[in-house]
């Protein structure tokens, strides 16, 4: 696996290189936009981490050039890593074809997680399997396995579990859940959702999966346990 880091601050570039080396990747470093542009012509990368405020050639131009050239090199996933946090910059970056956008300063674990996700998406597309601790959710076979054994869940419960798993660590509103399960018959009201959640919690008790109730907002599945 080969990545290109485009960053003009040597201290940050060094930190990024060390961190991503630990993930077992080969890292190339460009300290200005022009050399990054040059390297992107001759080499196909699995991921490009791109700063915006670069000497010689701006990050937006590097990105636009890359996407314009196209080909296998031109489709490399790009993560913009920048100090500019305005909405316009974000939108412009994503419009130009960036795959993700992270503002400085950032938490290293978050950057690593996003890099992993981008590389995975670039290689295999979206994974059909969601792994959450001892729980494994097969989005194609539509079943949930606990320690390899299938859990007894209804179609609606499965849909709700899938939504919660995909949004682990984030609040999911009752409306969102209702939207997900309305494919299975008529749209359930808020009370029905509460009933389904109650059942889901019971069935997941042994899996050490906690579905929290967030007052006035909805539900939250804790972030997956580390490891």
């Amino acid at each position: 696996m080969r990545m290109l880091i485009v960053e003009d601050d040597p201290l940050l570039a060094d930190g990024l290189t060390r961190s991503l080396n630990q993930m077992g990747t080969v890292i190339d470093l460009a300290t200005d936009g022009a050399s990054a542009d040059h390297m992107l012509v001759s080499q196909t990368y699995d991921l490009v981490i791109l700063d915006l405020g670069l000497p010689k050639l701006g990050g937006f131009e590097v990105l636009a050039n890359l996407r314009r050239r196209g080909g296998s090199a031109g489709t490399a996933p790009v993560l913009i890593l920048t100090a500019r946090d305005s909405l316009e910059d974000r939108v412009k970056g994503l419009d130009l074809g960036a795959d993700d956008y992270l503002t400085k300063p950032f938490d290293l674990p978050e950057l690593e997680a996003r890099v992993r996700a981008l590389v995975r998406r670039g290689k295999f597309g979206t994974s059909p399997q969601i792994v959450y601790g001892r729980l494994r959710f097969d989005t194609i076979g539509r079943r949930a396995l606990l320690d390899g054994r299938p859990l007894e869940l209804s179609a609606r419960e499965l849909s709700m579990l899938e939504t919660l798993l995909l949004n682990a660590g984030r609040v999911v509103s009752k409306e969102q859940l209702a939207e997900q399960v309305k494919g299975w018959g008529e749209e359930p009201g808020p009370n029905a959702i509460e009933v389904y959640i109650h059942r889901l919690r019971k069935k997941l008790e042994s899996a050490q999966v906690t579905v929290r109730t967030v007052r006035g907002l909805g539900y939250l599945l804790d972030k997956p346990p580390a490891g």
């Binding site: 984030r170 609040v171 907002l217 804790d222």
Partner: protein, 468 residues
């Protein structure tokens, strides 16, 4: 009419045009009057000739004769420039002397002299006609006297008058134009002086411009400029203080950063080093937070905020969304963060990015200062014609005496508190001001904790109520 407005051009145009028109009219009137007087004087001379003739009339045996010696006739007829014609006839129509074919008067002549114009031998002439009693014994016996002269002298004089009047008016117009042009220029000098005064001024020099020496018409302009200067001065002073404060504030986490980094370098024991590095990350987070807050404040300032586009926003939906985003952080800190917002849209006119920033700051504050196990609730709802957005916690609360002070920049309530950077509520206040909203601090439910509420003017969903 003109490419760009010019005061001098306008003034000159509006002064010279009517003045010139008036001068041309007055010239015309003077010319006509002069002609009239001249004509009267010459007519009078013509009448004198007629009188002269009348004195020479004599009655003779029921008829009329005239006593006109050749020398007198010559004197009457021959003039330097003009020819003089005359005719004297009796009532009965007998010609006594003179040219019979002079144009007859178009009126019935009497004893008063009356004048008329005519043509005689291709020449325009002026004539006078009158009747005269010539016989003292017979007052009914009348003689008709007509005297005429060519117009050479009158024409010459008319030309002279025309040249004199037109010339003098022309000189007047030129003088008035020149005087106006120079006068306006002189009058506008203070503007030029003002311009030079501003031109040579350094952009750092914000002292007021001289006011007493400027004319009253320009003084309001100078006063307006001076007022702007004063506002600028205050704004710049505030900015400078803010930058100095910010730099000071930034130094503290940087000092912590450096200290812990140096300690980490010196540390032999791996666990000890980890502790130092953890402190390093904490100090970094604090400086990053400060940088974010400074940026947020800069964006919320009226100068920047004036350009922030405003649109109708559903406060209920926005409050739910922003609160949801903060839930993971609340869980990390062992706090129960929830929301109590209405389901139907509650609209206000505002900038979504700024209101999100404001609410984020309120939630962040509550999460920072509420001890683990506490409860933080974000509420949104209507109140009369307002929309109220509030964040309530059951933490230590803010003493009534401190509730004004907390809005000041870099103000933290106690020295032990090293969590925030003291900008959160300043940001909230700035954003509220931009939205013409008010911020109030209350105690929470049961007199515990803090409730910070922001009251916006609601955008009415329904048509405004009709007045009875």
């Amino acid at each position: 009419m003109f490419k760009e407005p010019s005061l001098r051009r306008q003034l000159v145009f509006w002064l010279v045009l009517p003045l010139s028109t008036a001068l041309i009219f007055s010239g015309l009137i003077a010319y006509r009057l002069a002609l009239d007087f001249v004509s009267k004087a010459y007519d009078r001379a013509l009448y004198d000739s007629a009188l002269d003739l009348s004195r020479r009339l004599l009655p003779r045996s029921g008829g009329l004769v005239i006593d006109l010696p050749p020398a007198a006739a010559d004197m009457l007829e021959n003039d330097e420039l003009d020819r003089v014609y005359y005719t004297v006839s009796s009532d009965r129509g007998d010609l006594v002397i003179g040219q019979r074919d002079l144009p007859p008067p178009p009126f019935d002549p009497d004893r008063r002299p009356r004048y008329y114009d005519g043509i005689y031998g291709d020449q325009p002439i002026r004539l006078v006609a009158l009747r005269f009693p010539y016989d003292p014994d017979d007052p009914q016996a009348m003689a008709l006297i007509v005297v005429a002269e060519t117009l050479q002298r009158r024409d010459l004089l008319r030309e002279d008058i025309l040249v004199a009047v037109a010339g003098s008016q022309l000189v007047l117009i030129v003088m008035v134009s020149l005087a106006t042009y120079l006068g306006v220029g002189h009058g506008l000098l203070p503007l030029g002086r003002l311009r030079r005064q501003i031109e040579i001024r350094s952009h750092r020099d914000l002292t007021p411009l001289d006011e007493p020496h400027t004319p009253v018409e320009v003084r309001p302009l100078v006063q307006a400029i001076n007022e702007l200067m004063m506002r600028l001065q205050r704004a710049i002073a505030a900015q400078q203080k803010f930058i100095a404060d910010a730099a000071h504030q930034l130094r503290t986490p940087l000092a912590g950063l450096k200290t812990h980094a140096e300690l980490a370098l010196r540390e032999q024991d791996l666990d000890g080093m980890r502790d130092r590095v953890r402190a390093l990350i904490l100090a970094t987070d604090r400086s990053a937070h400060l940088a974010h807050q400074l940026l947020a404040l800069a964006r919320a300032e009226p100068e920047a905020g004036a350009t922030a586009p405003m649109a109708p926003i559903d406060v209920n939906a926005l409050a739910r969304k922003v609160t949801s985003e903060w839930v993971p952080k609340a869980i990390d800190r062992g706090l129960d963060l929830g929301a109590a917002c209405g389901d139907s849209p509650l609209l206000i006119q505002g900038n979504a990015v700024l209101i999100r920033e404001m609410l984020g700051n309120l939630i962040d504050n509550a999460l920072r200062y509420t001890p683990a196990g506490g409860r933080v609730t974000v509420k949104a709802g209507p109140l009369d014609r307002s929309a109220v957005l509030s964040v309530e916690d059951d933490g230590p609360g803010i003493a009534e005496a401190d509730r004004v002070r907390v809005f000041e920049r870099f103000q933290r309530l106690n020295q032990i508190d090293t969590q925030g950077c003291g900008l959160g509520l300043s940001i909230v206040r700035e954003i509220a001001d931009l939205h013409a909203a008010t911020v109030d601090i209350f105690s929470g439910a049961n007199d515990r904790g803090t409730r910070v509420s922001v009251t916006f003017a609601a955008v009415s969903n329904e048509p405004p109520p009709r007045s009875a």
